[in-house]
Symmetry: D3
Subunit: 257 residues, 6 copies
């Protein structure tokens, strides 16, 4: 059996031993969601999994199987549920999945978790799932668990954003299927990127509210919210380097490694 | 973008087009569960995913992202929840996940589903999830959906079993981490099989009841319920050939392909 | 007040005293389900209740009120939900009922449970209900409970099956409204058996998958899955003798009586 | 097969035929609850079942299997959950059971329901269960269902109460395990009444509030809330005659029989 | 900041200090429900809030924000859900709200609760919510909580009712939007009472059952169930005086103030 | 009865008439949450209610009763659940409340909703509640509903923020109990603001992750996340003017008023 940071590739005695030695469990939260005509539906699975694997190697942690289905996509941050292929869970289903995973791993000895979100809309349901998971463990009188929860894209240096967006970073929310995600995919899975299909529109401009059903013109036809033109693997590398370095540093600090 | 049977690797327009053309959606149901000291925790993810991919190629279908966490392991069929690494969902969480996936895909046009179970204990919660999913679609006035649900291991010819078990096939339930699963893993992911760690015990002998907590001697220490000695990739190939041929035939018959 | 093994027929001080003395609580799980044109809808209530009463007398136990509604009938094992009269619960409703019953009895001092299933499809939801019930008790810091869970039909000697099926026992799953259940009903409630209405078909032959909606010919028109011809009360007595003797022996062994 | 008003004793074709002919489905709601030292735990099962059977015979209806477990007992009306033997369901479990039963019977053609409550505390959860059941049927586009819901004890003539309580009827709420229920049990199941154990206390006197945990002296030690002395089968007959006549009349009026 | 009995008007250090000193938390349960053509939809919010505020001042307690939406209105006690403006919660939603409020306040140190119901139909869901709340606290090992639950209208002296209804008090259930509630509103919020719109009908006369859908003539057209004519603020003051005095006395007794 | 934009203050015929005429229903989402030592626990109730009332007057709408309890406070945006007085709901409870309110109002004829959030953490559970509410209406075949959902603080002009924060607006997330909320409270309820208790600390500086339990120094002792010094009612007026004007404009545009 190969040495692996992926829990799924270990046998149970191997997992047990690592956990008994204090290994941190990383839980990547993905989604199956449209990412424009040039990217596959699994962008939000690939990216947080890759970040987790790299950080886990640095800190001696293990990566749990990535949640493949995420919380419902919203028009302003992911195109919305009306896009074909976007396959999502009710909030309770998502939160209960995370709760159950944490409960079982905690029952088997895991005491340190890092929940790494890769899909914007998962943020709050993952807060709930984590809260319910820690509650479930307390109810079994397991009270010495520490858990971090983060969005990987928040771990980037100002300088990196300035380098990528010389005219100013327009903010995370619209970075859906756009320059950042496309660059990371070019780094990680260029075989799944159809660069010739990158839309030639500019940035979407949403009003500051949700509305159902979406009025004509509210949704972006392509599902891309900002601009993916100019994406390069090199940019993906800059971002990945930041994500790994900064998340690693945060974990080292908080877990006293 | 590559041609792929995996929905996750398609862009949304590609998925939409295939579904509009009647592509069957395969939904593999996996688990993260101990499989003895010689197999990884993801056996029940890898096997149904591989079966689905092969069948989907035959019938022009698509494979949804595999559910990574399954229903609770039972001592008599999977070793039970007390094995470290076995990370499972409450029945409601599992069933709601399948319900939500079917609801969203149905809302986006999918009309033919094949739910392929790869973990013994998923059987009944997947019945419930499928029933709730079809109910949810009916509640949205989508009533023309057809869905099959199966355990892949039931699709094997008598002759094949006789060839593998010349002294008689002892039945599916104990085939956990044993000859069949080990052979299939040797076929598909030999890098994840530690043949030198295959237990040298014989077959487990369970009484016909569950008991909690398990009394001394009730659980198998290794997590292997039958005998994995003699596993070979060739046997895995025989089985896989049967699974693919017989499931394909059933689908062709029922969906009138 | 009569001496009774039925909890329902005791006053609360009588129940309390027996439980304080360590009486085992039997919980029979029934169903309201079609059993062909010759048997009533309550076969799955009558049979496990009768088994429990007999075993309880042997071991000084008490029988809780039988759950009257079971989990959804499946075509391959019970005819399916489309048969009129089959009235079933969602999995969560069924599991929560069992959870609540165990929680309350545990709170009142019961520490030993035997859950006796009388309806094939109840098997897994009863696993979940038992697991949730034991969890609920742990959450109230009640941790010294032991619980068995079984299908009564699994407790039969090979010789008995050979005597009943000289040409070989075709397996439990299709024994719905067939020779075994009809014989047991002839033993217990012959007034409810219409022997002249026993279908004259042979055994059903199901493919190894579920399919919804059932295609033409998939469902058995009568609701009888195997053959009930030849049923006799004497056969029922053979079976009942085995059920009672073997379940009693298992309980004596596991509870150290 | 005998002619029976009990659905459970019919075969599925018999049930189907009666329902197709417009038979009203009666659903009795029982409980497993302490009823003092002189009555068994199943009083609230026996009484509504008996009422339903009698009324069903009058109006050509059928009686569904009685729910054996009810909603939580309250101190002021049933002694409270701290009495051993009182085994109850969470409100959601109870309501969902009723919902599921109505949904399935409605799906199979039942269009007229009478829900007959036999346990004080079931009143509101049965309102919820009925509401959820009708909603579930509407969601399947079944909209022509009529349903009554009643407590059987409300159907009694003033004259009868005056005859039983010459000094004035003290009200339903405390009639737990007292004169009325004991008399009805003497009528129906005298073998289960231990008249020598009827407490010799008078009527309980509760303050107009619930309090948890119950302070000393708040709960009645015997579980009997009023006075059962003087109970006679004849009184039970007067009551039963009223129940049957008045409920029958109400059904005839509302269903236009 | 003003001195206030309303928790909502305190800062967190002020709330914390009072709770640390043993302040009783009052939780008023309201509703948004039709109250005839002469009263606003918030009668059931205003009345219990006012009672709580007055009692809290007497006993040094604090009043939590009133639940604004109640359990479903029933025809016999509130007109039923078909009245426009009656906006209600499913039982589970209502019960879970109360559970969550009690859980959080208990986690922050509150140990004494008085749940004051102002809407008839809230009675049983509030029993459930309180039970679930205390269970949730036990699951966090908080076991020293005392909680009362009451309907404020039950705290009235016989003499007062005799004074208001010289011909005899007809009972609580029909006192919906009638003399009592109208008088209390004239006391508390005369600006919201349209005395000229008080219906000139007499008292409703309901049969002793619920029926869905309501047959013609079953529902009261105005939503007023009894007679509101003759309502006066002075009557409201008599009632309020009783409510405050008697509830205060009960609390003093039970909490040993 | 007074003319009022508050649904709660209308009688049911008044509400019905306005809804029949197309009145928009505003649903303010509040919370009971710590807001530092100088502000009361109801800031997040008062502010969205006030915004809704003003906008409703402009567009002829009505304001539903404000949800008094919100979703769980997070350390980075509201101080977190460990602050005494912060009393919150599980995500499911919150979402189901919004679902039920929308379902009932929709059943009674409301077709246009504006959900106005006043508590940062309510954002996503309110997305879920709205989605479930619209689904519930579709299940009753009500499909012509339009619903907006917004955070009121997003409706402010750049110029206003520049005027308030001449050195640059630091972003919404930390504006908890700080300059903006304090100024709005000084405008609306100066009696509830204790200006002498405004903390003299600067702005909190959170790392970009959640961590449970919070390590020493992670939580702000006062519960104030930014700086409230310099708050004035005049600033509150500037903000309120923007909120009302911009939300009104958005509604006029989207609902075609």
């Amino acid at each position: 059996m190969v040495e692996s940071v992926f829990m799924a590739e270990l046998s149970w005695p191997e997992w047990q031993e690592k956990i008994a030695n204090g290994a941190i469990m990383f839980i990547p939260l993905g989604a199956t969601e449209q990412h424009g005509p040039h990217l596959p539906l699994n962008v939000d699975v690939i990216l947080p999994t890759a970040v987790c694997a790299r950080v886990a190697r640095h800190v001696g942690g293990l990566v749990a199987p990535t949640l493949q289905y995420g919380y419902k996509s919203m028009p302003r941050s992911g195109g919305g549920q009306t896009f074909p292929g976007t396959t999502s869970l009710d909030a309770q289903t998502f939160a209960h999945t995370l709760r159950d995973v944490i409960r079982d791993m905690g029952a088997h000895g895991a005491r340190r978790f890092v929940v790494v979100n890769g899909h914007f809309e998962n943020a709050w349901p993952s807060v709930e799932g984590l809260d319910l998971g820690l509650r479930a463990l307390r109810q079994e009188n397991i009270t010495d668990v520490t858990a971090m929860r983060l969005e990987y894209w928040d771990f980037v240096r100002r300088e990196t954003l300035d380098r990528i967006f010389p005219e100013g970073f327009p903010g995370t929310e619209l970075e859906h299927a756009s320059l950042i995600e496309t660059s990371l995919m070019l780094l990680l899975r260029p075989d799944l990127v159809a660069q010739d299909k990158i839309p030639q529109e500019g940035r979407a401009n949403f009003p500051p509210y949700d509305i159902f059903p979406a009025p004509p013109g509210y949704l972006r036809g392509t599902g891309v919210l900002a601009d993916a033109r100019g994406a390069r693997a090199e940019i993906g590398q800059w971002l990945m380097d930041d994500h790994v370095a900064l998340i690693t540093a945060a974990i080292v600090k908080e877990f006293g490694l």
